[in-house]
Symmetry: D4
Subunit: 163 residues, 8 copies
């Protein structure tokens, strides 16, 4: 079995229908990943235990989805030197503007690479991870190139919207 290179984390199982897009996209690019539910607020100790061994097990990048006072990506970033990509969940009351600000407005010193709110953001988190891995592994660059070309082709095929 291939070792996971990307870790997809989320604070609640209810985030999975959105974060699943990250998994599906990584899968389509043949990038091995693992997904876990771990909460910065409700299971901090389990989260820290997970983070302590993740990199030695082969994880190179973390993707973290979180909603509301969305601390998960920032808390991960405080404990690792690896790139952390944050995905704001569309929160119930405020549609994710709270999640976005809680993730992106990190203080100088501890960055989180933030994506857009919701499913598009989750998909893009996977593509951004692929772009990072492409710098190091040539075959991921080829995968990413193929993905982008296929995506362009899909748009060009519906060029006449009313047709």
């Amino acid at each position: 079995m291939t070792k996971a290179m990307v870790s997809i984390l989320m604070g609640s199982k209810s985030d999975w229908p959105i974060m699943e897009q990250a998994g599906l996209t990584l899968g389509s690019l043949e990038i091995p990943f693992e997904a876990r539910v771990l909460s910065a607020h409700r299971t901090p100790d389990a989260l820290f235990s997970y983070l302590e061994t993740a990199e030695s097990r082969g994880i190179e990048i973390f993707i973290a989805g979180a909603g509301g006072a969305a601390h998960l990506p920032g808390v991960i970033a405080s404990k690792t030197l690896a790139p952390v990509i944050g995905v704001p969940m569309p929160s119930q009351a405020l549609n994710g503007i709270d999640s976005l600000l809680s993730i992106v407005q990190m203080p100088a010193g501890v960055p989180v690479g933030t994506m857009g709110i919701g499913k598009s953001g989750a998909t893009n988190a996977a593509l951004f991870a692929a772009a990072i891995l492409s710098l190091k592994y040539d075959h991921y660059r080829a995968q990413l190139d193929k993905y982008r070309k296929k995506q362009a082709q899909a748009i060009l095929e519906v060029a006449h919207p009313a047709g």
Copy 2:
């Protein structure tokens, strides 16, 4: 020397001019406190060490000021059962609306009692801590009662604004 009952924490020394209001107000109510700069993102290990011994040293309530992706109050709340009071700093770009949402929109399970943005919020954090301590210690209730009456008196004295 009296043991501190309230801990005032902030992520950066630049938050002190605002958080100092909490200290001054606690002081005027004769509630012993200590103040520390500890960052959830930049010094997580030092923060966790501090939290491990705080309650055994006598801390009953935490007041935490934070700005931007303001995780400090929520990270403290994830590691203690004691009441955590959050004070949103008026952040540079977004005036503190980011700080407010990052503090108040906590997930079900781990609450932070959130105050208003800036100096008023810091003052109120101290008064809220006093209200909590008043349930247990009668002399703080007397102090708080005196504070509120003095404050009412100060307004009544300028009742004619143009005068």
Copy 3:
């Protein structure tokens, strides 16, 4: 019958489906409470009458839910020294951002410990009340500890979201 220690107030019966979460959570922690519909704007006199006797009847903490120009928590706080916890309702037009700002942005001198918008906020109001009572009553600290551990356990059981 046990005397209520926490009072849950709301301005309209239509707030009950959200504020009920506070009641259910207090119940699960075995903290006795009472719930009342009393409006700061529409029944101010009945509200003030209620507040005059509440503490002598044993109420130690007020939890108040309100929406829109959400004055109820602040009006209660103006008439008591006890801790007041505010829960912003998800208002019809503005999703609760109006409720949140109307509750949290209290002037220096009269604090309201504000929770997040909606059901999570109502649950957290109860947990925050429990954290306050835990300082004074040891058995509530034990209850709260048990609640937090159960909640952590529930997350760890679904750690593999896709599984």
Copy 4:
């Protein structure tokens, strides 16, 4: 001495530089008024005492300025049948959007006629009071008509902005 017909209330003397515009405008329309500092949160009892006698002393309209969790206009409206006009103060952190929402989003049943944020709003509160009084007292209608014509004239005189 003429009896005041309009009461200008504000929660803090620091609101006077803005609320003074209401006074100056009422003065220029020869509408007698009185101005008081009374806080809904910090001096609720003094506020209620004031309101109990205001109408019998001749007050027909209340103008209330307030900032942040701006409860003053709503609290007045809960205790009177007279028209209450609210003026949102430009609050320190959020520029008055919190004040505006806290004043305007009143629940069905207890209205506050809300003006714009800051000095323009204070001026307009006076003009709106004049429009109300004009329905009952013909000479105020004449005053208001003169004011509006003078104001139009002032604009027409600078019609060529670069000139």
Copy 5:
């Protein structure tokens, strides 16, 4: 037939389900009114014709509902000395925050007394009109007093929300 004293205007027939609340409330207070669809942008000339005769026909107050770039209340206010009460419609994309700001942020000189967004605002517009008319006509004050008491009673009857 009784002459209308209040004019309810709106820019589109689709606003009627909300503005109808103003009509129903005026009706319950026995205040005669008329309702018209007239658009500041699409039928400006018909609007101005209507306004030219409205006051001579007995209209004392205008209530105007509008959404989006909600100019109707302000345009009416530019052409009359009578009190104009604005009701922001909950607009499709932005939930009425655009409507609210477009109505309330009037320049100094031409006020609009603004209500909350949507049905509550429409109800309150009628009650605010009643408060204005109460200054001049004693029987409306009695009606308004009765309305407020009935409304308080309705809340007190459901005081136990879970019951």
Copy 6:
């Protein structure tokens, strides 16, 4: 066949249900147009190829609909001297406020004439294109005049909303 004078562009076929309003309105004014799906981000080269020949084929005005980080109108404007009209799509999470700001806040030097969010904006984009073409082609002015009169008539016919 008549040559298209207006080009309606959008980044995704899912924008068509909204942008179709622009097409329907242009059609009702007898202004020939063409509609294409071309993405600034996903098919930049195809977009630039399209733009290179559009004006020589007779296109005088571009209407571009886009959502989220809505770059399409601005990217078109960077490559043409023709008027570009932008229509913000009501985005999934933020209701189109992101789309609006991404389109309207262009830097000095490269303007986009921005319409309101959603279907009204798409309709208005067509009417604005018609107003531009009316300066040059008299018969479009006649068409536009007829459209505006019909629209006024439609409102006047429902003048009594309750009727």
Copy 7:
């Protein structure tokens, strides 16, 4: 003397320092214009008189700057078939977000081509007017082309920011 082709209107002389950018840009493109202070709210009759003769005097396009409840562009658009370009002023309290929404969110049927907030928006209003006039008058297209090339050149000259 050349007849003005573009009319720059604003509601207050205090808007001129911003709207002057539109004048300076039109001037640099050699497009004749006139500028007037006319308020939709405070001088509606003078505004309508101005609009009645503007087109017959040669005005082809209106540029209107307005702040707060910024009705001027929409009111102009309600009375003309010519293109109306709106420029939101950076309002005192809300930085122009109120002005922007009040201008851009026009109802279907009466469009305003909206620019960004403040000086950039005023400059762009002039460039957008030039783009419109370029469709009809070839020499303005040449002027606009020259302007855009000069602007590109100015950026390329400072390509090394630190240099």
Copy 8:
């Protein structure tokens, strides 16, 4: 001379005082970079020319700062497979919330890793680039580790804010 590995791009020289933080941080980590002013809107062709050769010259990561309708990062991302990091400038009117949304809300398919608004975001863009390069080049991981430890040390030294 060392070949640049990171390209810092911005649309205007006026962005340099903020983007300079990215340069200073990269410098302190000994990561070679180059900085250029190139506008997505005003110099699109020069931008595309630059992008065509950048990667073959050794650029592995792009950092792009932009304000208002901040298209630069997204336009770069549309033309490269390399990671693009976006830094929202604190725009004049809206403090950078427009810049943030215009950068972060990218459509699925073309990601931009977004940082916070302003100088903190620029610093973090450099640190995020370092985290990415650390996956491939071990000595940058050592540099980054040293940077983070020094930063933690700096906070711990001021742990007593009042001292």
